[in-house]
Amino acid sequence: MWDRREFLKGAALAGGSVALPGLSGCTIGSKARGHVVVVGGGFGGATVAKYLRMWSQQGVDVTLVERNPQFISCPISNLVISGDKQMSDITLSYDGLRNTWGVKVLQDTVTAVDAAARKVTLASGGVLSYDRLVLSPGVEFMYDQVPGLESEAARDSVLHAWKAGPQTAALRKQLESMQDGGVYALTIPKAPYRCPPGPYERACLVANYLQKAKPKSKVLVLDANEEITSKKGLFTKAFEKYKGILEYRPNSELREVDVASRIAVLEFDKVKADVLNVVPPQRAGDVAAKSGLKLINNRWVDVDWLSFESVNTAGVHVIGDAIFPAPTMPKSGHMANQHAKVTAAAILNLLAGEAPSPAPLVMNTCYSFVDSKNVIHVASVHQYDAAKKTVMPVAGAGGVSAAANELEGKYALAWARNIWADMLV
């Protein structure tokens, strides 16, 4: 593994980087040298790219491959859909990673992974060699499970808005165009899916908007799960406040979509909507799901919890929503950021010829808006358990808000600004 030329190149880079930030704050030297390719610039990928550079004191080269020119945040995007925030509030640049941290950011997509040769192929035709590969591709929608949404045209009409971007703005437009007295229906897939409380937050925020702007309208929440999957007591209370405008229906799995008539076909019912918002079932992103990595339930990548390395493919680490989660671990941006830090630490150890840290700890904080100002949280802490070889929730830790409150509304926005900076600035 140890390569003298790579070492000298890395040493030269580290020596030439004294003016860069990150070095002054570090007291522990890093022997790690090499090239890490990161695929996906979301909460997981951007964070691992920054922390690899920061903790190696620029000793490790990092290339980030991201298909979008800018980062658009899913957290806070429900406030754009409700009209409380603008797209510009959730859109951030990759320039901090480029200029402050020296990450090579390529706007491209990876079309193939050759784990044996440690190379990835880019859509633009290039090939990147790596010592370690980190895949943070997020989720892919399983449209094969939603008959009616086969075509691009159908998907442009019945939106998910579950990956922040053009669909976020488009869903806002659909709600603005809806007449007073219209029906907004949101379908939720069976867990696990990205951001467990997200759909309920969206339902609350859309109800809050409609209550003010189009009070004769209705919000229908069609949940495939048998009950609210996150912050149940608090969302139940919030839904009561929207009584008359919001209706929650559990055990309502979507079977088919009639796009032309905007009808959600359930097992025993058909629901007609004016704005139909379908969050499809999800699995690991293609680059992780189709590269020979071991999957669980044919959907999520099975990883080693000390390093987030694939259990069957050496040198390939997978983080964020794409992995099969440890017990009670949510698929969240916050958690992806925490995966990223454990992975950055593990990779730097491995590149220095050392074992990963034997006792990683991760934690989650998730704030949800129930209206423009009031927020509820859920928090948890997860510690590696050597006997179980997985990450287990720490008993007695974590919990939810006592009640929705404005102070946590401020903290939620503070959380967003700090986590965005933690990954990108």
Binding site: S24, Q338, N349, L361
Partner: protein, 104 residues
């Protein structure tokens, strides 16, 4: 293969002796634990100015540890920190406090 490498590493620590092995075991533990706080409190405890989150960088170690322990015992009320601090052992909180105290 991976397992073998780790066994080798563990074996080497054994040769070096227990005291040294404890230090050697995870020199980055404090850094790694403190990084779990950054999502809300900023990278290395340097919160975004004006964000409303408390910056932890450069805080006196004893003061910060006391605060964390008070959150943990419930003596100090909070919206969320009483729940999060319970997820860390006292030894882990001490490492976190020490790490932030040295950040400037």
């Amino acid at each position: 293969m991976k397992l073998f490498r780790w066994m080798l590493a563990v074996g080497l620590f054994g040769v070096l002796g227990t005291a040294q092995a404890e230090v050697k075991a995870d020199p980055n533990l404090a850094r790694n634990l403190a990084a779990t706080c950054a999502n809300c409190h900023g990278t290395d405890g340097k919160a975004v100015a004006g964000s409303g989150a408390e910056a932890l960088a450069g805080t006196d170690k004893a003061k910060l540890l006391q605060k964390l322990m008070d959150f943990r015992s419930g003596a100090k009320p909070a919206t969320i920190m009483h729940q999060i601090s319970k997820g860390y052992t006292e030894a882990q909180l001490e490492l976190v406090a020490e790490y932030f105290a040295t950040r400037k």
